[in-house]
Structures are given as structure tokens and as C-alpha cells.
């Protein structure tokens, strides 16, 4: 890298607790839910940093021909250098948005190089001045962080992706991933389901990959506890891997037994249209609401207004929405799809119920009936909430980040309580 110039006002001047976060996902008007966990991370770590800049390098995919792609790549740098505006995000952090054009069909490694190039252009060829650079997602965030961090900066990476296996199946992406883990100061997986995939692929890095869960905001508790499980809620993308079709079928069966039940879908996606048609076919149009996308705060408010979060996803690396529902005082009915069974370990019955991933809506129906029969006497959402706040609350995760980023600065005593975050040595 040589004598690289640095951007961002020379991070050395901020008590060296200047942090840059690089992420391909962050809430936008186009995808209000996207990367809510990154925003939560920025907010949770606010006591740790003196200055933070979020670089949202957003991959803009397009189905275009190679000549069209070349025309886009020719045009992009000149536009990126003209977009100097920045916004502020949570906790006073600066937010810079960079569009990275990508032709649909290129590999994840090629995509990561495009993200890195786009950020370099946005930085005017300079390096990021922060002493800590944290990338989210191994390649698009991690590679981009490593390539744009200044010499001597400590670079960390967190992997969240539920499609990680697809990334690692590509030879060039796997090789780049190996390099990212090797070069990073610390490498985190958001949960054990992600870590196990990485350790399986890169056994030589096993001791370098540790767990760093997503932080969850535990706001004020629900005023009145849930009395019965009538108002169902789903929050997330409306697509097949989330199990929303099965959920609708199961809801219709349960409603046939109890006409007071309602279901609200919060989110949008490819299945929005088909779900709307199926609602009419099932004769439950008066009981099902499609609320569209909701801002994060609005989604939390809706959780407080509903009685049960049903999350029948086929695969989750963490299950943030599940923890958020419990933080809002709502019990959950959730699949054992990778993340949630780890997230809720030890408090499964207190939080609600777990169910297997199947293709049968009857699984959801049976799990609901069993939960309804033991509710509320054998469910203790308040207890689950307390346990989860200790595990994933801003204090716990913020301290874990502090230990990782600034081990010399953080008071070791204050950081010693967190049992779940970054529990292994990082370096």
C-alpha cells in the first residue's frame, strides 16, 4: 500500500477510536429492513467509538449484456466522484452511500472487487483514515474493508450470510474468502450455523473464527402482557425460503377452528401477489392484512400490538426478528432453521415454541395448538426477554465489540461479564 493518503479527516485525530463500518446492507428507502442489524451494531457500539462512518456500498445488480455492463462501468466512476453528499445515521455516525454496479451472473469475488473499486473511487483513491475498519459479510464487506483500510488499521469482519455455501462453492470466491480470514485482525460469525460452515471449509482458520451475535435493542417492555394468541404476525421478506406460503395455509386451518384469529404480514417480496390470491381462495381475506414494508420502529410497534410472531423460515443465521419480538413482549413460534434454536437455547419454552422445518403446514398448525394449550401458564416471555437482553442487548454486545476493537483502552473488568459475545480469543 505504500505511503497511502487517508480519507475521512485522518482518523488519527480522534483519539484513535475512529471506526469505519463497511456494509453492503443498510436500511434504505428501497429496502427499509435491509441491514437493520448493521445499524443496530453502530448504535450498540456508540459508547465505544468517538467517531464512526458507515460506508454503505450497495450492490446494484442488473441483467445486462457485457457491452452494456462495460458502458455502466465506464459511466460509474465519474458519477461516484460527483456524489459527495453524506447523511447522518444513528448515534451521530456519518453515513456515506456508494452505488456499486454489478452484472447479474458474476461471481461473489468479482462482485467484491466491484464493491472495493466503487469505494476506492468514492474515497478519491485515498485510504480510510479510521484505526478500526469493520466489514459486514465476508467478501463484499470484508474484502472491501481490507483493500481500503489504511496501513496499520485493525480490520474486522462479521459474516451473516444465509447463502454462504453458495459463495464458498465458487473457486475464486473461496480463495478470496480464505485470504480475507487470513488478513483480518478478527473474524466473526454471527452464529454457530455460520461458523460451522466456515470451519468446515477452512479448518486451518478454525481458531480465528469466533462468534459475535447481532445486538438487539431492548426498549420499554410491553405495557400489558399477551393474554391469548389471536393476533398473528409475520415480519420479513415475502419469499419462498421464509415459509410464508406454509404460514398462510396453516393460518387458514387454525382460523377454521377459531374465527377470531388474524394474521398480519409485514414486508414485501416476490410472493406478495400469489399470497394475495391465495388469501382470497382460502376465504380469509377479512382476517389477513398485508402491511407492506415498515420502518424498524414501526415493525417493533406492530410486534407490541400483536400476540404471536410466527417465523417459519427455512434458514436463518441468527433470527434477529425473533429476538426483537420477544423484546417487544410477544411469544414466538419459530422453526429450528439454524439460528433461532441457538439464539433461544435454554429458554425455548419460555419464549414460545420451536418447530421443525418441513413442507407441511400441519407442522405449524400442530405447534400452534400445542403452544396455545400451554399458554400463558407455561410460557414466560418476561423471563425470556431478560435472558436475551443479557445475551444480545446493546450493553453486552457493545462491550464485546469494545474488547475486540480497542483491547488496550477498554476496562477489562467492565467487559468480563459477557459470556456469549466474542467468547474466544480474537487474535
Amino acid at each position: 500500500m505504500g505511503a497511502a493518503e487517508v480519507a475521512g479527516g485522518a482518523g488519527h485525530g480522534h483519539g484513535d477510536r475512529d471506526v469505519a463500518v463497511i456494509t453492503p446492507w443498510y436500511p434504505t428507502r428501497q429496502v427499509p429492513f435491509g441491514g437493520a442489524f448493521v445499524r443496530a451494531m453502530v448504535e450498540a457500539t456508540a459508547p465505544v467509538w468517538t467517531r464512526a462512518t458507515v460506508y454503505h456500498v450497495d450492490g446494484w445488480g442488473a441483467r445486462v449484456s457485457v457491452p452494456q455492463d462495460e458502458a455502466i462501468l465506464r459511466a460509474s466512476p465519474g458519477l461516484v466522484t460527483r456524489t459527495t453528499g453524506a447523511a447522518t445515521t444513528v448515534a451521530g455516525a456519518e453515513l456515506r452511500y456508494v452505488a456499486a454496479p454489478a452484472r447479474v451472473g458474476i461471481s461473489f469475488a468479482q462482485l467484491a472487487r466491484r464493491h472495493s473499486d466503487a469505494l476506492r473511487t468514492a474515497l478519491g483513491g485515498q485510504k480510510i483514515g479510521a484505526s478500526v475498519v469493520h466489514g459486514h459479510v465476508g467478501l463484499r464487506g470484508g474484502w472491501t474493508a481490507l483493500e481500503n483500510a489504511r496501513p496499520g488499521a485493525r480490520v474486522f469482519v462479521t459474516e451473516h450470510a444465509s447463502f454462504l455455501r453458495s459463495v464458498l462453492e465458487q473457486p475464486d470466491s473461496r480463495a478470496m474468502y480464505d485470504e480475507v480470514i487470513r488478513r483480518a485482525t478478527g473474524f466473526f460469525a454471527v452464529g454457530e450455523s455460520v461458523r460451522s460452515v466456515l470451519v468446515e471449509t477452512f479448518p486451518h482458520h478454525a481458531d480465528r473464527i469466533t462468534i459475535m451475535p447481532n445486538p438487539i435493542s431492548f426498549g420499554p417492555a410491553r405495557e400489558h402482557p399477551v393474554a391469548d394468541l389471536r393476533r398473528w404476525l409475520y415480519v420479513g421478506v415475502l419469499k419462498e425460503p421464509k415459509g410464508v406460503g406454509l404460514l398462510l395455509e396453516a393460518f387458514a386451518r387454525c382460523r377454521a377452528e377459531d374465527p377470531s384469529l388474524t394474521l398480519t404480514f409485514v414486508g414485501e417480496g416476490a410472493l406478495r401477489g400469489p399470497l394475495g390470491l391465495r388469501v382470497a381462495e382460502l376465504g380469509v381475506a377479512d382476517a389477513v392484512t398485508f402491511a407492506g414494508w415498515a420502518e424498524h420502529d414501526r415493525a417493533l410497534e406492530l410486534m407490541r400490538q400483536h400476540d404471536l410472531l410466527v417465523h417459519p423460515s427455512r434458514s436463518e443465521t441468527f433470527g434477529m426478528v425473533v429476538v426483537e419480538a420477544i423484546s417487544a413482549g410477544a411469544p414466538v413460534l419459530v422453526t429450528r432453521c439454524g439460528g433461532p434454536e441457538v439464539t433461544l437455547a435454554g429458554i425455548e419454552d419460555a419464549a414460545g415454541a420451536l418447530m421443525d422445518v418441513t413442507d407441511d403446514p400441519g407442522t405449524i398448525v400442530d405447534a400452534y395448538r400445542a403452544l396455545r394449550d400451554r399458554f400463558p401458564s407455561q410460557v414466560d416471555v418476561a423471563h425470556a426477554r431478560t435472558v436475551l437482553e443479557d445475551r444480545y442487548g446493546y450493553d453486552a454486545i457493545g462491550q464485546a465489540y469494545a474488547r475486540a476493537w480497542f483491547p488496550d483502552v477498554v476496562d477489562a473488568g467492565s467487559a468480563a461479564d459477557s459470556r456469549h459475545a466474542a467468547s474466544s480469543p480474537l487474535e
Partner: protein, 187 residues
């Protein structure tokens, strides 16, 4: 504030609808340039937002209308006039051959190249006709719009006209003008 949204790729429709509505709600003028309506059927724009279809604007543009007249409409009329009675079948075949072998090729290779050369970058004259400015801000909303935006910038520079601000989203635009003091927060 006059804002032009380039949304020719139709891949970030929600952002286009929300951000253009924001501009008119703030008392500005919002023009959204799309390629054609079809992919946008599910998207509702604020009634005060001007939505312009580039394909329609192109078809209505005088040079294109002249090209259509010379290449297609006049020959068709000629073929219809000549192709009566016993000549009808033969002239119909000749007309089909003319359109596919001559007219379409000339249109693709010559005329389309003149009106939209370079797929995007060279379309600035068409854009000037379709969405006449001036604009304070051009919001580029998808990758397909990038070459068009670059062409607009180059066109402004070549004509010595002030280049509007460029942003990849209304929330990330630099403040413009004396009234633009409100700082955007979050996304």
C-alpha cells in the same frame, strides 16, 4: 428544487416512488424518467410527480417521426397503392422483404445509432428533448441509468451549462440552494 430521477432500469421502484413523492411534498418538482410503463404497473406515483416514458418520447421526437415516415409509412403507402389486383401477392412479399431486409436494418444500424448512440451515453439529445431541464439535482436510481447520467453530465459540460448535482438517492444528496439547509438523517 427541481429533481430529475433516472429510473430507466426499473430495478429500484420503491425508491423512485418514495423519493419523488418526497420532492413534491417538500414543494419541489419531480420528474421520473422510465423506459416504459409496463414494469411499473404495480408502482403508484404521487399525482404531482411527472413520469416520462423515454420510449414514447423517442417515438414522438421529430427526427424519429421523420425516420419512421421515410423508412416505413411512405413505402407502405406505395406498396398498398401498387399492390392491387394480380400484383397483390407479389407486392405483399416484396413489402415484407423490404421491411425486414432494408427498413429494419437501416433503423437498427443507422437511425437508432444516431438517436441513441452508445446505449445511454449518447442519448443526451434525446434526454434533452424528453425531460427538458434545468434541474438542481439528478438522482441516478439504477445501473442502467448510469450511462444516461454520464451522458447528461458530458452534455452539460460540452455546452458550458452548469452541471446539476448528482446523487444515488435523495437522502444522500448534498444540500442545494439557500433553502436546502435541512440535514438528511438516516436512509
Amino acid at each position: 428544487m427541481d429533481v430529475l430521477f433516472l429510473a430507466l432500469g426499473a430495478s429500484r421502484m420503491r425508491a423512485a416512488a418514495e423519493e419523488s413523492a418526497q420532492v413534491v411534498a417538500d414543494g419541489g418538482r419531480a420528474v421520473v424518467l422510465i423506459e416504459q410503463r409496463t414494469p411499473w404497473r404495480q408502482t403508484t406515483f404521487d399525482p404531482a410527480v411527472e413520469v416520462v416514458e423515454l420510449s414514447r418520447a423517442e417515438a414522438a421526437w421529430l427526427p424519429v417521426r421523420l425516420e419512421q415516415l421515410v423508412l416505413y409509412r411512405v413505402p407502405r403507402k406505395l406498396f398498398r397503392t401498387v399492390g392491387r389486383g394480380p400484383l397483390r401477392k407479389r407486392v405483399r412479399r416484396t413489402a415484407g422483404w423490404y421491411e425486414t431486409r432494408i427498413a429494419d436494418r437501416v433503423h437498427r444500424r443507422l437511425a437508432a445509432g444516431l438517436f441513441r448512440p452508445g446505449w445511454g451515453e449518447g442519448a443526451h439529445r434525446l434526454l434533452r428533448h424528453a425531460v427538458p431541464g434545468p434541474y438542481d439535482l439528478v438522482v441516478v436510481l439504477d445501473p442502467i441509468s448510469m450511462p444516461y447520467a454520464a451522458g447528461l453530465v458530458a452534455d452539460h459540460e460540452a455546452r458550458g451549462v452548469a452541471v446539476p448535482s448528482i446523487a444515488f438517492g435523495l437522502d444522500y444528496a448534498a444540500p442545494i440552494g439557500p433553502n436546502a439547509v435541512e440535514e438528511r438523517t438516516d436512509a
